[in-house]
Symmetry: C2
Subunit: 489 residues, 2 copies
């Protein structure tokens, strides 16, 4: 104890703006160090455990989360106002992520195991596989998914699956939810200190600069991500930083796709979760004239309370920025202390500048009208990176040029769908060029999210008895491997 | 032209210290921009080309290099003094790298193609594969391998294989070799501007900060790597940096392995190429008493000229640092203006501090003597990261604890071999924890070196005719893929 009074973290109800329950203390530097040190100690055994052992634990975590869903959604609803249906669904998604990673590590393909037997004249026997990074993974929880991108979110599930212990810096928007989730997960782990939880901004800084931390995952704003990157840059030993930051998620509606369904689909995607999705469609290119239909659809929407006061203020600031454009339409204000109103702005393509398309987190978008499809690609080419890009069309051939342009600026391309909603599956990629991600080659959703916490080791002429089972000739775990150049199952 | 006189780059003969041939001008900022812009323009077609087309070009490059080996080795020998046998072998290795990457891209496994078909209730069709980063790769050539880690080295070969154009910042130690290699490669490319070459320190800074550059590969010193990282950190848009920096490559000789062959093997590895290998064994732990045998072996070695004056001076500085230890033995001085003498220093384990084991580039090492195997792991655990770690032993069971400790600090583990010599194969990993690499999950040698220049794209409900062939249901290119969770060939 330094004698200094501890700062406290309060949760707030977005519907009333009032504090919820007792506050939680911010972690001191000593608290953070204790959490990381304990996680590292527990991590030695976890890293050495078999994939089968870890998979069973991940499934136990999934079961534990589902068993407590009745309590979990209520605690989260008080702190986020996201509602029962969404929050129950999100707990199921969170459990599903643990189950997917159990499958991934049992399968073993994630190890990228390769064997090259010795060959004349001078090629030694070389075998390689990926292994967990030797240390603790730091996770910065997001505000907008209190389960799926928070304490027990995809970063934590994938890191535990890889064999890494985790210390999470809780998001201040849902401190009590964070505590409850941590305790549910910890009870299902062989050692509860494999998952640490710390509160407070300084705790996040201490965490990411701790020498035993070997990588960091982050979901949040560009400014927040830049701040964490700066802290990492100042480390003596650099570590990889996997930050998912801002994204405007452009949508192109081709002339052939103009319909009232597309307009209502857009309005629904824009306002889902009060627009608080990193995949929210913030920029839509439509044939001139169709903006009126879009506007009418948006007029039929209703806002709601945002997650917290800071995010509500950020939305207001974003609207000010967009105010230089013509207001096309607005929805109805919802209820609640921190409620906001959906708004769409419009500009013709030749007045649009890519700098206008900065993310405005919340239910706001720019509707850019165009006359000529062939003029879109150059404009798209100047956009910043996004997590997603979407085309609505009926004729793939008319979309080819636009598709090519979008494929350079986004990590996921969607046809006749909406970007909100990210399937948790083997093929998903949830990343994209800066500022969508600080590490565009990696994803924070889907099976390959585990790759962030792995690093290869090569074994040259290594004795069979010291080799991991995954690399022994007999392949006792029957994992997919490349042997002497050819894939084998 | 700014009117400012251009700075010139001279090559020098390490045997005489005299300049070789005419100097080459340093690239101006405008020159660098022109090279990058031209490479980016040529890169659009290259990126869109099929793997089969690119593979044929890579093989043509390999043929072209081999066809010019008689000229290439002589130009390089004047600038590096590495000798005919080594340099002919290195040209063959360099050509072999292009051939390996031709195989890798024809195989298609490097794309990590995954298909998840749509499934009830709400899972869309999602397909993912890796694609070339959309821009130019910057490569910083190394001094010590004028072919294999320089203009046409593994970074360039893997980036071209991926579908990226390349601009190389030449190493000032072999400017004329760099020019000749570039012209040989360029003549074999469909567009010579796919490979740019620039000279000069400022050119390197301009290169890595150019907006069209999307990633950088680097082989060199820790201070050089930190400088490039700093330039990248200052970019508006961050890019991945794959730097292979310093490595001490610890070797543990177990009591069972003590033999004159191990001593002579160590001395040969230490002095290979005048110790100018990033995998040079700079730290060896031996049973007490065996250091005398090691010392006798080193006394039988002979030094030679180092690559350039700066490296020779760096070696002298490293010897000063090591001078606090007891000089165990030295070899004979070789001939030539910049010649150096192999030296080994010794200390008992209980006087050894991990800070002593800082890389001294050249034929110098610390021989640490121990009494008790069980005391090694804790000391090894405090070492900085290395590219390799080696054990000499006859009983794998006695090596288990040491092996585990070494596996945390090195990317490649070697049994009864020597770290100098890196096989170019599917399983190789040439990387390791900082400072061995700035990106320990990646390798600069072997098939997976291509992964550094790739980034995934996911396609959701994407029309068949817009999908890359690699992701179409019929698998027309017959590449390995994971379909609905299962690997298929």
């Amino acid at each position: 104890m330094t004698g200094k009074a501890l700062s406290m973290i309060y949760g707030y109800d977005p519907r009333t703006g009032q504090a919820v329950g007792d506050p939680l203390p911010e972690a001191t530097t000593a608290d953070v160090s204790a959490a990381v040190t304990a996680a590292a100690a527990a991590g030695a055994g976890w890293r050495a455990s078999s994939a089968a052992e870890r998979a069973s634990v991940l499934e136990a975590v999934a079961d534990a989360l589902l068993a407590r869903v009745d309590d979990l959604w209520q605690v989260a609803d008080r702190e986020t106002a996201l509602g029962e249906v969404r929050l129950r669904g999100e707990v199921a998604r969170t459990a599903g992520q643990f189950r997917l990673f159990a499958k991934v590590i049992r399968d073993g393909g994630y190890l990228d195991a390769v064997i090259d037997h010795a060959a004349a004249p001078a090629q030694p026997d070389v075998r390689r596989m990926k292994r967990a990074l030797p240390g603790v993974v730091a996770v910065f929880a997001a505000s907008n998914f209190p389960f799926a991108f928070s304490v027990a979110g995809g970063d934590t599930a994938s890191a535990l699956a890889a064999g890494c212990p985790v210390v999470v810096k809780a998001h201040p928007g849902h401190p009590r939810t964070s505590e409850m989730v941590a305790s549910v997960v910890q009870a299902a782990l062989p050692d509860p200190t494999l998952l640490g939880l710390v509160h407070g901004m300084q705790a996040g800084a201490d965490l990411v600069q701790h020498p035993l931390v070997v990588a960091a995952g982050f979901t949040g704003s560009i400014s927040g991500g830049r701040a964490v990157q700066g802290l990492i840059d100042a480390r003596e030993t650099p570590i990889p930083f996997f930050g998912e930051l801002g994204s405007v998620n452009p949508v192109v509606v081709l002339p052939s796709a103009v319909s009232s369904e597309v307009a209502s689909g857009f309005a629904a995607s824009l306002t889902l979760g009060v627009g608080q999705f990193c995949t929210n469609p913030g920029l839509v290119f439509v044939p001139e004239g169709f903006e009126k239909v879009i506007g009418e659809a948006v007029e039929g929407t209703t806002g709601g309370p945002m997650l917290n006061e800071r995010i509500r203020d950020g939305y207001a600031g974003g609207l000010d920025r967009l105010g230089s454009l013509r207001l096309l339409a607005e929805g109805k204000a919802g209820d609640g202390e921190w409620t906001v109103t959906p708004k769409v702005f419009t500009t013709p393509l030749d007045s649009f500048a890519s700098e206008m398309a900065e993310e405005c987190f919340g239910p706001a978008a720019i509707v850019v009208t165009y006359n000529d499809i062939s003029s879109l690609s150059a404009v798209i080419g100047r956009l910043q990176g996004s997590l997603t890009a979407t085309i609505h069309g009926t004729e793939p051939s008319e979309a080819a040029e636009v598709a090519d342009a979008l494929s350079r600026i986004a990590g996921r391309l969607i046809w006749n769908g909406w970007p909100t909603g990210v399937a948790v599956c083997w093929a998903m990629h949830h990343g994209g060029p800066w500022p969508a991600s600080t590490a565009p080659a990696h994803t924070s959703v889907g099976a390959t999210a585990i790759d962030r916490w792995l690093t290869p080791t090569a074994y040259q002429d290594w004795p069979e008895e010291l080799l991991p089972e995954e690399l022994r000739d007999a392949n006792p775990l029957t994992i997919p491997r490349r042997v002497d150049g050819a894939f084998q199952r």
